[in-house]
């Protein structure tokens, strides 16, 4: 499955068990996955299937307990120390005492970019997420959707080719969500980044991805990996085409197979 493309994330028989007071919880078992450069990979599944945990393993926010994983050809820890990914959380997590541009400058300050470079990058990323002119505002002055866009800008500001997104639009209403999905695809096209995207929405996963990873809980595992046949160029209307619906159907089947709703 690796083919000739450069592998960005490669997991082999990856497992993670949390020790809790109620005994061990298998968050991930036997995960084999390759994410290639330029891929848009969605992780979909019900809560507890380990999709967020897997993303956090890539980001070195959790340590796997078995198996192997490489990020950019090295360990997740080294990848983190090389600042090779940007992480977008479920909530915008903007620092309320910083203006939007200061929030975007936060990683740049930490990573030691020059003041002039910071300014140029802030301007460029604000433009990328359509927030030009909002740099001087404080987070509370912006809507939820705009805050989340600012947090994406923050993750894009430094030179990381990998973007990890953990249900970034989960808390937003459907209209805003559609709009942001469209913008995210354009952004992906323009920046040529590799994106790992966690979601629990089937249409969102199918609309965005080149590869859909279907996961199921107890224990958290991968049940299906679907390579999307949709073209790179995707107007919102594509969601009505038979091809789209066929992929969505396969995702739904995958979810159903891995999860008994009678429980």
């Amino acid at each position: 499955m690796t083919g000739t493309a450069t592998s960005v994330v490669s997991a082999r028989d990856l497992g993670l068990t949390f020790e809790t007071n109620d005994g061990p919880v298998n968050a991930l078992t036997g995960v084999n996955l390759d994410v290639n450069k330029g891929d848009f990979v969605s992780f979909i599944g019900p809560s507890g299937c380990g999709k967020t945990t897997f993303l956090r393993v890539i980001a070195d926010l959790e340590k796997p307990t078995s198996g192997a994983i490489t990020v950019n050809g090295t360990t997740p820890e080294n990848a983190r120390k090389n600042r090779s990914y940007g992480y977008v959380f479920q909530a915008a997590a903007l620092y309320p005492w910083r203006t939007i541009e200061k929030n975007i400058a936060l990683p740049l300050e930490i990573m030691g970019y020059s003041a002039a470079d910071q300014k140029a990058r802030i301007e460029r990323t604000l433009e990328l997420v359509n927030l030009t002119g909002f740099g001087k505002k404080f987070p509370w002055q912006l809507s939820g959707g705009m805050q989340q866009r600012a947090s994406i800008a923050r993750a894009l500001a430094f030179d990381a080719d990998l973007l990890l997104m953990d249900e970034p639009f989960g808390a937003l209403d459907e209209i805003v969500r559609d709009h942001l999905n469209e913008q995210l695809l354009k952004l992906w096209d323009r920046t040529n980044k590799t994106i790992c995207f966690v979601t629990h929405s089937i249409p969102e996963a199918v609309y965005l991805s080149t590869k859909i990873v279907v996961m199921s809980p107890r224990p958290g595992r991968v049940t299906d990996i679907i390579e999307s046949t949709l073209p790179r160029e995707r107007p919102l209307g594509i969601r009505e085409t038979p091809e789209f619906l066929a992929i969505a159907h396969r995702v739904r089947e995958g979810l159903r197979a891995g999860h008994s709703y009678d429980e």
Binding site: L61, R80, P96, R98, L106, F138
Partner: protein, 294 residues
């Protein structure tokens, strides 16, 4: 929305309470001071009626409870009508106490913040230090104040610093408690963000923990400045200090100068209110600079 109305929203409620306090005070003064007038009349073998007692209770030399206008007159005499360098000037005594208060508050704030930083960043300090910090506050300050003065005097430190250290002893506590909470205020997601940037502990501290702790710091500072003043006054009481508000209180009680005691009390209260207001203004200014939602 209704427009804010200065008279209705602040002057009237404050005024009503003030009026009530004054009435209760005057009535209490009459009843508490009347027995002295009756005794005096009885010793002189004369009869005295209530209407004769009433005006006398307002102008006694050493009343049990001085009437408000006596206290106000005393404060006026000892502040505006006297050079501030005079040993009888209340402004002079207030300054002596204020200087110890501010020095003690400054040391207490720095000490409190340093302890909190240690407690938040070091597991061993977290486990070992907090019980001692709490235990320190269970010792009555009146018991420990003379010890501090005596011990420091024995090693040749006297004057302002020992009093300031008693202020420190009281004021570092709310700062430690508030700042430990404040420095732990950042949400996990905000800390994770710093982790993904591979930020150093110093960067995480200055760019996340420190700004997060500001509301907690100022809440603590308001408590700390008020008890710093209490500490400085208490430091003057058992030590034979000759100047400062504490010394005025003590001298007043030795000689039964209740008017002097009450005026010193009011000066202390006014000082405390002013200090708390100044900290409050600094709080507002800092939060405004940090762009907090009004």
């Amino acid at each position: 929305m209704e427009k804010p109305n200065l008279f209705k929203d602040s002057i009237m409620p404050v005024g009503v309470i003030l009026l009530a306090v004054l009435i209760i005070w005057y009535v209490s003064a009459v009843f508490l001071n009347a027995p002295f007038e009756r005794d005096t009349a009885a010793r002189a073998g004369t009869e005295i009626t209530f209407s004769e007692i009433l005006p006398k209770t307002m102008f006694q030399q050493r009343p049990v409870l001085p009437a408000p206008h006596q206290v106000i007159a005393e404060i006026r005499n000892t502040t505006f009508l006297m050079p501030v360098t005079s040993k009888r000037s209340l402004v002079y005594h207030a300054w002596i106490t204020l200087s110890a208060t501010l020095l003690g508050f400054g040391i207490g704030t720095v000490l409190g913040i340093l302890l909190a930083v240690g407690i938040v960043h070091n597991r061993a300090m977290d486990r070992s230090l907090m019980p001692w910090v709490i235990a320190s506050q269970t010792i009555p300050i009146l018991a420990i104040a003379p010890m501090i003065i005596v011990v420091l005097n024995a090693v040749g430190i006297s004057g302002l610093l020992p009093k300031a250290l008693i202020s420190t002893y009281l004021s570092f506590f709310p700062i430690v408690v508030g700042m430990v909470k404040g420095l732990r205020a950042p949400e996990q997601i905000q800390l994770d963000l710093m982790h993904t940037y591979y930020a150093s502990p110093a960067q995480t501290f200055w760019k996340l923990r420190w700004p997060s702790s500001m509301p907690y710091l100022f809440a603590s500072l308001k408590v700390a400045i008020a008890i710093s003043l209490v500490g400085a006054i208490v430091g003057e009481l058992p030590t034979g200090a000759v100047s400062g508000l504490g010394a005025r209180l003590l001298a007043g009680s030795y000689y039964g100068q209740t008017v002097q005691i009450w005026s010193a009390l009011f000066m202390a209260a006014a000082l405390a209110a002013t200090l708390v207001i100044i900290v409050g203004l600094a709080h507002t200014a800092v939060l405004k600079r940090m762009g907090m939602k009004p």
